[in-house]
């Protein structure tokens, strides 16, 4: 795995986000994906390469065509990154609420 590629970097780009949104509903070939963008085909290929390297999408040969699939497990990883941070604040705020309820009743 290329360590330079992290998922956050991958989803930081609007074109790559659009590609992911398209692939969430159906698997597509590179050509079909590229036809949705005004940008040059090699640019779309580069985006697909980055998405593949960080495992947000997977390539699969189907007959003569190479199809791109969305990988929901990797997407979940992004949510998991954020979850511990959210949880930390959630716990702190629960404590705040408890402390202040106790303060009020004093």
């Amino acid at each position: 795995m290329n360590l330079r590629r992290d998922v956050f970097q991958a989803i930081a780009d609007p074109t790559r986000r659009s590609i992911l949104l398209m692939l969430m509903t159906q698997s597509m070939t590179a050509g079909a994906i590229a036809s949705n963008f005004d940008t040059a085909r090699p640019t779309v290929s580069k985006h697909l390469q980055i998405l593949t390297e960080c495992e947000l999408v997977r390539q699969k040969q189907q007959g003569r065509e190479m199809y791109y699939h969305f990988n929901p497990d990797k997407m979940k990883e992004i949510a998991d990154f954020i979850e511990p941070f959210r949880k930390m604040w959630d716990e702190k705020f629960n404590k705040l609420e408890a402390v202040m309820k106790n303060y009020k009743s004093k």
Binding site: F81, F85, R86, M88, D90, L96, E97, K101, Y103
Partner: protein
């Protein structure tokens, strides 16, 4: 079930927003942020200094088994009772640059309120780095991070 504490971190933006609705009147929520004694109780940290006023400053310190494991400080730029606090936040002895925090306190009903914390970082990379830190042990990560830095130096 809808989560009480929500976190919003938009891709490619160097900020993140945390919102939370409290089962508390707004003045009590605000007090929890402006009185040292109360901050200590819910943050689980020692408050060395907290001057709750415009141009005031603050410093927090967390110790474990007699050792200081975390220290943070900042300056308060805006302090409007029951409405908002704007302050900087700096973790001492870490590689994280100072961040800017906009805290907005909102009255929802007589007994409920909402807090919106907007944190602004020096770069998207620093924001992501902070998000990716292992936060499971709460604030202790700062200690681990420090140890990492120290052991990478030796």
């Amino acid at each position: 079930m809808e989560q009480k504490t929500k976190l919003h971190a938009e891709d490619g933006k160097q900020e993140l927003t945390i919102t939370r609705e409290f089962d508390l009147p707004v003045d009590l929520l605000f007090k929890a942020y402006s009185e040292a004694e109360l901050v200590e109780q819910w943050m689980g940290t020692k408050v060395l200094k907290l001057e709750s006023k415009k141009h005031g400053s603050y410093q927090f310190e967390t110790s474990q088994e007699g050792n200081v494991v975390f220290r943070a400080n900042g300056v308060i730029h805006e302090f409007i009772i029951n409405q908002k606090i704007t302050r900087t936040f700096e973790m001492e002895n870490t590689t994280f640059p100072v961040q800017l925090e906009y805290l907005e306190f909102e009255k929802l009903t007589e007994t409920t309120s909402k807090l919106t914390m907007q944190l602004v970082f020096k770069s998207t990379e620093f924001r992501n780095q902070l998000l990716k830190m292992p936060f499971a042990q709460g604030i202790n990560w700062a200690h681990n991070r420090l140890q990492e830095i120290i052991s990478s130096l030796t």
